[in-house]
Symmetry: C2
Subunit: 327 residues, 2 copies
């Protein structure tokens, strides 16, 4: 089996590739080849069974995509995107990558003419207020960012191209990924991860919102599972509704902190410094608090059952079970 | 006031232009100039008060759109589109006009940098089965054609560009327009109009489906009113949800025929010949039967209250109140 991952140098892409190399299979079939596209060189190493082919270049480079699709990967996992903040700051770049890049990929697949499985990374950014609690599966999309708009448009294209038989697509609306490993980034929602990640490293972190703020999360581990499941699931059962809200954990900041205390104790929690930020407080009302994701669960997608499970997954996957402060 | 109408040679565009020239005003302000864009020369004549400027060319011609937007029309009514059947038969042309053409227009508006009112003609083709009865306002879109997909994508762009303050947009999901004047066309749904229009001219017509088939209609007169209302309404009240399902009449073919009998009698109805067509019968399950359109009604959009009203509007507008067979 040959898998193409776009945006493969990102956190999720890297983890998917590593999982495929480690297990050496997908849906019971051996993975012999993985093509990793990104604008920077993706650092994932192959094995004797699985060859890695890095392709460095932009999704809007038609010749590059054409070249990649000529190899007819069995599964295309499309992660490449400009993130929310950047797409908001630079309208042209956001739509060029997030909309035109997706369309260029689908068009290259059309020209390759063999209808591969395509898994498109959409986002809960497609939802906008007023939010039902929980948000049901059949709700109209009201994205409040250009990022969410382009993701909603990408979903529509994936559905239409699938209906026409050009590809066999599925769009996954990912919850906010938490705990995101690595350094703090400038995303307004970064604190949801930082307040767990930094204290477990023994470092101070800032909480800019109140403990009552609620949001919807899945671990990186669950996100990887979503993509692997979508890559081989029966899409006929979707009956043409090819965009699925992924399951996750609805948790308030207070519940995040309680889970951290349960696992790490008071000295870890003491590293969270409350420093309210009016700008970020203003954003939180635009973020969904809870999503039912019943269809996805019915189709075999699974996530953690509570926030403690998310913290434990982080400790296992990023600290080998032993975070510095608890060592 | 200066109004730009794209796709102005079509039936709705022509009627909107004629209405504006006849009344000479929009929302209480004088209409001094109307620019009519289409790929063929639009045949609408101006008056002493209202000058008509025809622009012949394609919506995907960036220089042309740029040129038109440089005149900074106060209102842009965007009707230009490749119709459903053609967009389905020619994927490239459909997306080029229906998606890229819309985007080119919005980008030209962005460069003109003055945030005009934009009214975008969307369609009930954004909906797909399973259909609620009636379809509520907040339902997820599942278009079953590339035409409907591009319309749903256009709605998302209009909303995002409005949110960003680039324009002040509103998208109108038009019911099937009935009774469509003129010659029978090859649209699969054409019979909904033909079974009224042809008999009133004293001509035979074919009914390819059963009398129980139900669909959702608005008269050309109502459609014109929708656009004129949207051109001047308070969009702040929409609270960012800028796509509205327009009101209309849910009627079965049997109810259409009953309305025709009520108005024209048995000899008119006798001109409908039943000739079931399996292909068309197969399509009808993908067409919505009834739409609540509560938000639109709350925001002042109005349509006929029953199908007899639609037949009467046709007789008044196309036959001066006296159709040939009843003369």
């Amino acid at each position: 089996m040959h898998i193409l991952i776009t945006g493969a140098a990102g956190m999720i892409g890297r983890k998917i590739a590593e999982n495929l190399v480690t297990t050496g299979s997908l849906g019971g079939r051996p993975v012999t080849k993985i093509t990793l596209q990104d604008i920077v060189e993706p650092h994932t190493y192959g094995s004797e069974e699985t060859a890695i082919f890095p392709v460095v270049g932009d999704m809007t480079d038609h010749a590059l995509i054409e070249h990649v699709m000529a190899e007819r990967p069995d599964v295309v996992i499309h992660l490449a995107a400009v993130v929310s903040g950047e797409a908001e700051a630079d309208l042209d770049k956001g739509y060029r990558v997030n909309l035109d890049g997706t369309r260029a990929l689908l068009e290259a697949i059309r020209r390759a003419n063999y209808a591969p499985r395509v898994v498109f990374a959409s986002s809960i950014a497609v939802y906008g207020p007023p939010f039902a609690d929980p948000i049901p599966d059949d709700v109209e999309l009201h994205p409040l960012t250009s990022y969410g708009t382009a993701k909603a448009m990408g979903e529509l294209l994936v559905s239409d191209y699938s209906r026409r038989g050009i590809l066999d697509g599925i769009s996954l609306r990912l919850p906010t990924i938490c705990v995101r490993p690595g350094k703090p980034n400038r995303a307004a929602s970064g604190f949801f991860s930082s307040i767990i990640r930094e204290p477990l490293k023994g470092e101070e972190t800032v909480l800019p919102v109140g403990e009552d703020v609620r949001h919807f999360f899945a671990s990186p581990r669950s996100a990887v599972d979503f993509f692997l499941h979508a890559a081989t699931m029966d899409t006929e059962a979707l009956k043409g509704h090819r965009a699925l809200a992924m399951p996750g954990v609805s948790a308030s900041v207070g519940e995040e902190i309680a889970a951290l205390r349960e696992i790490g104790g008071d000295k870890v929690v003491a590293l969270i410094r409350k420093e309210p930020d009016a700008t970020i407080q203003g954003f939180v009302h635009n973020w969904p608090a809870n999503i039912a994701a019943r269809r996805a669960r019915d189709h075999g997608f699974e996530a953690e059952s509570d926030f403690a499970g998310i913290v434990r997954a982080h400790i296992e996957d990023e600290h080998g079970g032993k975070p510095p402060i608890l060592a």
